[in-house]
């Protein structure tokens, strides 16, 4: 591709055109660069739009119809009735609440655990770092469905060992069926989710920790700050951006939880979540209209979370984009300072 960028024929061509006084040199070069830029970036851009923007537009359209695949001829326009049906249904709000509950609890726990892991990795000796990173990448890389099965079998009433091992805990005995009750089932579901995704949050926080200048912490220490004060007054405020980005990414991810619930309970014991509801309406019951409405609600919820994060908490998700734009030089020097 570079060959095109520096193609001598093009350069010749450009030079010839540059001689014309009507066209300033810069704009012509910029135009050629813009064209080449879009030729390179265009395919990826078009593919991304094709696989998301088009389907979501279709989903919004479908959600306005009463539309069953089993009776496609009876399709009729009902405007917002699908949404009305959802919003007046107690079950929908319960499912929405469960999804929200899972999101809030898992992200909170992951943040605490992830921060601990990040500190350990940050402070660990060089010889330990590789081992620690390798081990926490296993949960990150493992298939979510595999993780769901692993946790499911651990707690399973017949093949699991948890009831046996923890029989000394009040409330746990060999007859406890974890997946028959809401709170026990949701606990296992959240545990598997937390186990699998904490490493990711830990790595993001580790990158944030590495960006806090050592001199600041050192200065605070010399001034007599306790370990706790060093973290609460110096380190955490200085890595707020990393924390907020990690929180938002994880919250968005947790809100679309599907795999673990599908494998462990299939939505039984009131553990159904929004993504599973959408799946069941569309794919299992072929209620395309209603299923699309659920999908759209999920999509809008995610959008709202992003909006709130950006407006209220000033999360700068696109900080990476700034680096590519004007502040290229500044970025480069800052990076050198960090390493």
């Amino acid at each position: 591709m570079t060959t095109t960028a520096e193609n001598p024929a093009n350069a010749e061509d450009r030079r010839r055109r540059d001689r014309r006084p009507a066209r300033p040199k810069k704009s012509d070069r910029a135009k050629a660069e813009a064209r080449l830029g879009w030729m390179l970036a265009g395919p990826a851009f078009v593919v991304m739009l094709a696989v998301t923007a088009y389907p979501i537009a279709q989903a919004i359209f479908d959600s306005l119809f009463s539309y069953r695949l089993t009776a496609p001829d009876e399709r009729s326009f009902i405007f917002l009735d699908n949404y009305l049906l959802l919003f007046t249904d107690g079950t929908f709000w319960r499912i929405f609440g469960v999804t929200l509950l899972i999101t809030v609890i898992t992200v909170a726990v992951e943040l605490v655990l992830g921060f601990g892991l990040a500190i350990v990795m940050h402070k660990a000796l060089k010889s330990l770092r590789g081992l620690l990173r390798t081990s926490i990448l296993v949960p990150y890389g493992i298939i979510t469905v595999v993780s769901a099965f692993a946790w499911y079998y651990m707690f399973h009433i017949n093949s699991g060992f948890v009831n046996q091992w923890f029989s000394w805990v009040p409330g746990i005995d060999s007859d406890l069926d974890w997946f028959a009750n809401f709170w026990t089932a949701i606990t296992v579901i959240m545990a598997s989710e937390i186990w699998k995704t904490t490493p990711f949050i830990a790595l993001l926080l580790l990158a944030g920790l590495a960006q806090v200048p050592d001199e600041l912490v050192e200065a605070a220490r010399v001034d007599g700050a306790t370990r706790w004060q060093q973290y609460s007054r110096v380190i955490i405020p200085n890595m707020k951006a990393a924390i907020m980005v990690a929180l938002l990414f994880r919250a968005l991810d947790a809100f679309r939880i599907f795999d673990n619930v599908f494998i462990m309970t299939g939505g039984d014991a009131n553990t159904e979540v929004l993504a599973l509801l959408a799946y069941r309406q569309s794919i299992s019951r072929l209620e395309i209209g209603l299923g699309s409405a659920v999908s759209v609600v999920l999509f809008i919820s995610v959008l709202l979370m992003v909006f709130v994060a950006i407006k209220l908490f000033k999360v700068d998700l696109a900080s990476g984009t700034d680096a590519s734009g004007g502040g290229k030089k500044k970025k480069a020097t800052r990076k050198e300072g960090q390493s």
């Binding site: 970036a41 739009l49 998301t52 660990a124 060992f161 951006a241 569309s282 990476g320």
Partner: protein
């Protein structure tokens, strides 16, 4: 911040304890399903961690036994679909990230912003319309019918990760090599490719993980063994008889599909970590 080499005995003990805790945390569930995969049917009813009799029976079941057809075709589908989706994503993302890192063009930030928006997109929201469309145009239950939506998972993160990598490459080296008498192609191949290749490779690993992990598309857009990938197939395992749970076979299959993940992590942990953090946090 890293500790000095002169640790006291107590500090050494502390670090050892912390490391063991993290190792157990990370590997315990994997060890549990690993143990399950070597249990006999009778053992699977016992609440013990390790099998009392180690058996290869479950692996025989999925490779040459009754679950062979279900598992092996799913494994082939998973490998094929994931590798193709990864390859396409990395090629498209390389071109895109090169343009973003090296050129100035209007809409550059918009492309990156789109990648970000697509990466936080709930997969389930696009599955219904794709399900409907794929059935109409004949892509339902085909490899291509999964490869296309997989790009929505792999492409955005590939673009972010690679843009971050490419921004750090000292592109002046290319000119320097040319000044030293190298041809343009030589300069690109000898100076730039060795610097860019690790980033491209790391991106491919991360994209592979994400596509390999997919469940929502896999279970929604397939209905037979023609294209069903392993995570979706695991949900369709049945026991040898209706009274038997397929626990052993599922565990063995789970371990088989975890092997590539563990291998990649063991070999490339440093690259994966830098790839993940570079793409995500740029303060």
């Amino acid at each position: 911040m890293a500790g000095s080499s002169g640790l006291t005995g107590r500090q050494k003990l502390g670090w050892a304890a912390v490391s063991v805790v993290i190792l157990v945390y990370a590997l315990f569930p994997v060890a549990a399903i690993f143990a399950n995969s070597f249990k006999t049917q009778a053992d699977l009813g016992n609440p013990t961690f390790w099998p009392s009799n180690w058996t290869w029976g479950n692996y025989q079941e999925i490779f040459v036994g009754g679950a062979q057809e279900l598992f092996l075709t799913a494994l082939r589908n998973s490998i094929g679909i994931t590798l193709i989706a990864t390859f396409i994503a990395v090629v498209l993302a390389t071109l895109c990230a090169y343009a973003i890192a090296r050129m100035d063009f209007p809409g550059k930030r918009f492309v990156l912003g789109t990648a970000l928006a697509v990466s936080i997109f709930p997969v389930i929201s696009v599955v219904t319309p794709l399900f409907n469309l794929w059935r109409t145009i004949g892509l339902y239950d085909t490899w291509l019918g999964l490869i296309i939506p997989y790009l929505s998972l792999t492409l955005p993160i590939s673009i972010w990760t690679l843009s971050a990598f490419f921004r750090q490459i000292p592109w002046e080296l290319e000119q320097a090599a040319q000044v030293d008498g190298a041809t343009q192609w030589q300069a690109f191949r000898k100076a730039i490719v060795p610097l860019a290749a690790p980033g491209v490779f790391t991106t491919a690993i991360i994209a592979f993980f994400i596509a390999w992990n997919d469940f929502v598309y896999g279970i929604s857009l397939t209905s037979t063994e023609a294209a069903r990938p392993v995570p979706a197939a695991l949900a369709f395992f049945t026991g040898a008889s209706q009274f038997e749970e397929p626990t052993g076979a599922i565990s063995a299959a789970a371990i088989v599909v975890t092997i590539p993940v563990v291998l990649l992590v063991l070999l490339f942990q440093r690259q994966i970590v830098s790839g993940l953090t570079q793409g995500a946090v740029k303060g």
